[in-house]
């Protein structure tokens, strides 16, 4: 009797050692105007955790309200009192800039499911920082490349005045070979674009490129369609994701946008992801959901090889990126940002639902422009 008890205890202990709890802190936007993005990242992430069948991953989820000061407080709390091993979840680049450098300096790992500011990809890169989504410039570079193939010669570009907006216009200009009819920075969170649309009309442009994520994009597209300007529009996927297309409606039909993910990328992982996401949450996934899903799967693949407490082994396991991504092949560049194919998609209507369809490749196996500046 005593023997079996001891054996059981030993077994439990052994199991405990093998299944050391991993604590993941997710700071993301779950309230306010940007909540749709954070909810998609969270749902994608939790779906992957659930599908892995592991019960040793403890995810602490907190809402940053899209405010940098709140995000910093949450990060401090998670590191100091929750003792998390890995942080993730931040949507907005200005919040990432406030949280990530301090977190990785304290020896924590940060896996970015969305924000990829240029400052963290170049000189500010860090061995413990991994971006699973893209470097901010990437989709805009692809939009610039697509604008060349579409024959646009004189384009008008606009983006909000914040780090990701500046990265966006820089990225577009890096690849676009035509002239700029105008370049505007709008206010972050701006909802009325009448003034900008009037400038577009007066500029003599032959096309428009814009980066206005979330609600800003809805407002711009509706007002643009109603203004009758009618020039072709190119943008990154952020204004055409599954969450907001229904709110834009017909105004988005036919617009070409660039994305590293689409629900019709043909591989078994993606097919299963789209189906199970829809079954679990009753809606189609967006690119944000796919990024959350990939982030969790990357984390799980690394946990299979090493524990975060063994930092070097865990880092090597993350670098290997040995997981099957919804995007197909996935690999990291030397600065821990993805090297990936970016597609051009067109907004279509499937029955009653607005969604995207891939129409071609905008940039093949594309790495970011800052990798060379990264020394680690």
């Amino acid at each position: 009797m005593k023997k079996t008890l001891l054996a059981t205890a030993a077994l439990i202990l052994a199991a405990g050692a093998a299944m050391a709890e991993v604590k993941v802190g997710m700071i993301t936007t779950l309230s306010g105007g940007g909540a749709g993005l954070g909810i998609d990242v969270r749902d994608g992430f939790m779906l992957a955790v659930k599908q892995s069948g592991r019960d040793d991953i403890d995810v602490v989820i907190e809402d940053d309200q899209q405010k940098p000061d709140i995000a910093v407080q949450l990060a401090d709390k998670m590191i100091q009192s929750e003792k998390v091993d890995v942080l993730t979840g931040i949507i907005w680049s200005n919040l990432a800039m406030a949280v990530v450098p301090a977190a990785v300096a304290q020896g924590k790992f940060y896996l970015s499911p969305n924000a990829g500011p240029s400052a963290l990809a170049g000189a500010g890169c860090h061995p413990n920082y991994f971006n699973v989504a893209w470097q901010n410039d990437n989709l805009h570079e692809a939009a610039g490349a697509y604008a060349n193939t579409a024959g646009h010669k004189n384009t008008f570009i606009l983006a909000p005045n914040y780090p990701a907006g500046q990265d966006a216009l820089t990225g577009f200009k890096r690849f676009f070979k035509g002239d700029l009819a105008g370049e505007i920075y709008t206010q972050l969170g701006q909802t009325d674009y009448a003034a900008e649309i009037a400038q577009i009309r007066a500029s003599g442009a032959d096309s428009v490129f814009f980066f206005l994520p979330g609600g800003m994009g809805i407002s711009f597209l509706k007002q643009y369609a109603d203004s009758g300007v009618g020039l072709p529009v190119v943008g990154p996927a952020f204004s055409f994701d599954q969450g907001i297309l229904q709110a834009v409606g017909d105004a988005a039909l036919g617009v070409v946008n660039t994305s590293q993910w689409s629900k019709d990328i043909d591989n078994p992982t993606n097919k299963a992801f789209v189906e199970t996401f829809q079954a679990e949450y009753g809606r189609l996934p967006s690119l944000y959901a796919s990024q959350g899903f990939d982030t969790a799967n990357l984390l799980i693949s690394a946990l299979d090889k090493a524990a975060p407490s063994d930092a070097d082994a865990f880092r090597a396991a993350l670098e290997a990126a040995d997981f099957s991504s919804t995007r197909g092949a996935f690999r990291f560049g030397p600065n821990h940002h993805p090297i990936q194919t970016i597609y051009a998609r067109e907004v279509i209507k499937e029955g009653d639902v607005f969604t995207n369809k891939i129409i071609g490749v905008a940039l093949e196996d594309h790495a970011d422009a800052y990798a060379a500046e990264c020394k680690m």
Partner: protein, 306 residues
């Protein structure tokens, strides 16, 4: 920069201004008459937009949606006044700020609970969509012209209400001396509920009208609320006329500043940096305007109280 473009931008500024006026009018009435700082005014704007989106989705009629927005926001306002606000008239402003801030959170999460986190669809009706050509060859969206018209009509209606009706007399009297009004036999608590519902209804109408060209989403009211506060501070707290002039000033400054400041900086800076500095300064323009007005007239343009 052509004359047509400038004319179009002035129209845009006017349209933005009259929509701000719908928000600011209610805010200034409530503050003027009841002495209450209502931070939840932006939530009533959101309630209007969501009610309009829900009704437009169910019936397909934009006019019905507007009526629903007005009714839903006024009803929400009346309920809030009777349940929460009524207890706060004697309380210090800080308690009012705290309670109405709590209302923002309750409204936001309540709306999310009912409608979900993703933006709703609300579009301009066919008979108001597309641009029209104005004299001088300005192509301008018909819907925005209609917004200017509605805003001016509401301004005229409010002027008539406060200057020419018995209710208006009571409102103005309540502003000056509420004890005396009550002593004269006016049911002051009914008057307060009415004023609050009226302000809420105007906010709801603005939410629905603007929701059709913007995105109907949780939290849409807060940025507008800040601007509406700037408007009533510039105009003088409690003054409808002040709210109207203040709203047009803020609308025009914000719109024209966003266009001309970057152009101005391009005269002596390289274009990329000029756009960035110009836009940064443009977003400060209305606050600079507010401070200048306050230096000149500490109680606002038409403010009665110091």
């Amino acid at each position: 920069m052509s004359l047509v473009l400038i004319a179009e931008q002035v129209l845009n500024g006017l349209q933005f201004g009259v929509m701000l006026f719908l928000m600011a009018a209610g805010l200034t009435l409530i503050f003027g008459v009841m002495g209450l700082i209502n931070l939840a005014h932006g939530s009533l704007y959101m309630v209007g937009a969501f009610a309009a989106a829900a009704v437009a989705g169910a019936t397909g009629s934009f006019l019905l949606a507007l009526v629903a927005a007005l009714a839903a926001a006024a009803l929400a306002g009346a309920i809030v006044e009777m349940v929460v606000i009524r207890r706060l008239y004697a309380a210090p402003h800080l308690d009012q700020v705290l309670a109405t801030f709590a209302l923002i959170l309750i409204f936001s999460e309540g709306t999310r609970w009912v409608f979900g986190s993703f933006p709703l669809y609300l579009d301009i009706p066919d008979w108001l969509s597309g641009p029209v050509t104005l004299p001088g060859g300005i192509a301008y969206p018909l819907y925005r012209l209609a917004l200017i018209g509605v805003g001016l009509a509401v301004a005229a209606g409010l002027w008539w209400l406060t200057a020419r009706t018995r209710l208006g007399i009571q409102i103005r009297a309540g502003e000056n001396d509420r004890e005396m009004v009550a002593a004269l036999g006016v049911d002051i608590s009914r008057l307060y509920t009415l004023v609050f519902a009226l302000g809420a209804g105007l906010a709801g109408l603005a939410g629905a009208l603007v929701g059709a060209i913007q995105s109907v989403q949780v939290g849409m009211g807060e940025p507008v609320l800040i601007l509406a506060f700037v408007v009533i501070v510039i105009g003088g707290i409690g003054s409808i006329k002040g709210a109207f002039i203040g709203a047009l000033l803020v609308g025009l400054t914000d719109t024209l500043g966003g266009i001309f400041l970057p152009e101005l900086f391009k005269l002596f800076m390289e274009p990329g940096a000029a756009t960035q500095t110009g836009s940064a300064l443009a977003s400060m323009a209305i606050y600079i305007l507010m401070s200048l007005v306050l230096v000149w007239r500490p109680s606002g343009l038409f403010g009665a109280r110091a």
